[in-house]
Amino acid sequence: MDKWKKFKESYFLYSFLRDPVAIVSFIIFLFLVIVSFSAPLIAPHDPYDTSTISIMDSEIPPVWYGEGDDNFILGTDSQGRDMLSTMMYGMRVSIIIGIGAVALQAFLGVVIGLLSGYIGGRVDAFFMRLADIQLSFSTLMVAIFISAIFQTAFGVGKYSEYAVPILVLIIGIAEWPQYARTVRASVLGEKEKEYVEAAKVIGFGSRWIMFRHILPNTLSPVFVISTIQVANAVMSEAALSFLGLGMPVTKPSLGSLINLGFEYIFSGSWWITIFPGILLIILVLVVNLLGDWLRDVLNPKLYKG
């Protein structure tokens, strides 16, 4: 109860309530999350259940067209799956991969950034050169390398079975340097502060000082990049899926849906690509807008009064 009261009086909530963009973004984001995660309950069809899908229903246009079917409000894709339901399931996959990948990135990046910033010397040089090398490739290229390796190592069948964890791993590994560099930079600033000296004088060990004292002081940039990285990870996943290296057609994410429909866009079935595309843009946009707001809140130097 006490925590709740504190939260109600906080600057965090205050600035949120005064920022209409943040409120709208948050509402939309929450709506999308709820809809996608309750998809098995509220979706009109189950796109994963092949027994209910009929190829006869394929490429039915949205309901407001003459040939539309009331059963399929946004039409169907080339396999005869209901677009609305498939998008709901697909968004769930996208969000899970986005958040999972960011959690992995953040874990790797924060630990590596802390170690290199605090220990310095050779450890620092090793990890930062590694990050430099990785940053000199584009993220997507690294992801394509890794997923190609995975695909040949496990075979395409196994790959599609474990596509979600593998994609989390791929995108997580591809983007850790962002975190590592941010955290390292803050650690370099923090470790010179006297409270760190004081902690040493009190007799704490290095590990305790790093994780318990320095880490919480470096977290605000981590939160900010996390929101932006979620959007990035969703995009990366979509891009990989679009290139055919991501989610299999049987369990499509938004990206693989876009890819799937892309082949039909010139034959007139625009809805298979456009609807997931719009949804993806909205999802990424609201997450980015929330990130912008969070950056303003957590960085008092940008405080506009």
């Binding site: 006297e194 409270y195 004081a198 902690a199 040493k200 004088v201 009190i202 007799g203 919480p216 002081n217």
Partner: protein, 321 residues
């Protein structure tokens, strides 16, 4: 001969730089008995803080202890393992820093920080740790400590924070407190309060204190012994009374002459001409000779030794006696 609580002998600290090694502290030695208070006085860069940090073997990177010994409770702190040192730091020897704004971690309540300090050294429950914290906060005259425990450092004023820092340093009833310019960042009225509080607590708990400061006025009110440092060496050491009333070394004389009280109202304050030499370009002979009015002969060629002078029980490093 009674054994001293802390005995520093021939301490030498060097800094490894690209251009070679730099001696920051040379041949520093002093003793501290139980409940005794020693002041280390000197200008910025004289090596006061490095001396303080070297006692708990916490000199930051390019620096290291290159010689001498620091005997504390039968152990030489320059030779013991990191584990033993960690047990001594904060527990047996604690330290107070200059800026109370910076020494408390901004993201934790002071209760958490205090409890954590106790739990790092003692195997007691969190509840007991918090109780000890309340008790210590009361000792440093923080009003309503129970509620204050749940507040963050930014909710306190500078003087309050320094009190909290003092409370933290006292949490484990250490044998020695090293106070590195504890009042420099505070305004004058609060300075006096904090010094009084430190003095009171040290006397009550029979805690030894090493007070590092550039303010001879503060030191003379609080300590029993004074060591004057100049360019990494102790130039004079002895009882506070003797040193203040009858300084031997020309540098100490200059410092005492420079105190505001020693001149009439409206007169310009005395100041020692010149400034302390950079450690990279130390003058030959006595480091103080470029600023010394008495300098002649061997002052330019030979480093004076710290030896007993006159009838006083004190040591000074100067050729001119």
């Amino acid at each position: 001969m009674m054994e001293h609580l802390l005995e520093v002998n021939n301490l030498e600290v060097k800094f490894k730089l690209r251009t070679g090694e730099l001696t920051a502290i040379d041949n520093v030695g002093f003793t501290l008995d139980k409940g005794e208070r020693l002041g280390i006085v000197g200008e910025s860069g004289a090596g006061k803080s490095v001396t303080g940090f070297s006692i708990i073997n916490l000199i930051s990177k390019p620096g290291y202890i290159s010689g001498g010994e620091i005997m504390f409770e039968g152990k030489d702190l320059t030779r013991v393992s990191e584990d033993v040192l960690r047990h001594i730091r904060g527990n047996r020897i604690s330290m107070i820093f200059q800026d109370p704004m910076m020494t408390l971690n901004p993201v934790f309540t002071i209760g958490e920080q205090m409890a954590e300090t106790i739990l790092a050294h003692k195997n007691i429950s969190r509840k007991d740790a918090l109780e000890i914290s309340v008790e210590k906060l009361r000792q440093v005259h923080i009003p309503s400590p129970e509620t204050r425990l749940n507040q963050y450092p930014h909710e306190f004023s500078g003087g309050m924070r320094q009190r909290i820092v003092i409370a933290i340093s006292l949490l484990l009833d250490p044998a020695i407190i090293i106070a590195d310019e504890p009042t420099t960042a505070l305004d004058v009225t609060i300075q006096a309060e904090i010094m009084e509080l430190l003095l009171e607590l040290c006397e009550k708990n029979d805690t030894g204190m090493i007070l590092i400061t550039h303010d001879l006025g503060v030191v003379s009110q609080v300590t029993e012994k004074i060591a004057v440092m100049y360019a990494g060496r102790i130039v004079e050491i002895g009882s506070t009374e003797n040193i203040v009333a009858n300084p031997l070394h020309p540098y100490t004389k200059g410092l005492i002459k420079a105190l505001p009280g020693s001149r009439g109202t409206g007169e310009k304050l005395y100041q020692i001409p010149g400034s302390m030499p950079n450690l990279t370009e130390m003058p030959k002979g006595c480091a103080f000779h470029p600023r010394c009015e008495l300098a002649e002969g061997e002052c330019f060629s030979k480093v004076p030794e710290l030896i007993q002078r006159g009838n006083f029980r004190r040591l000074a490093a100067c050729h001119k006696f």
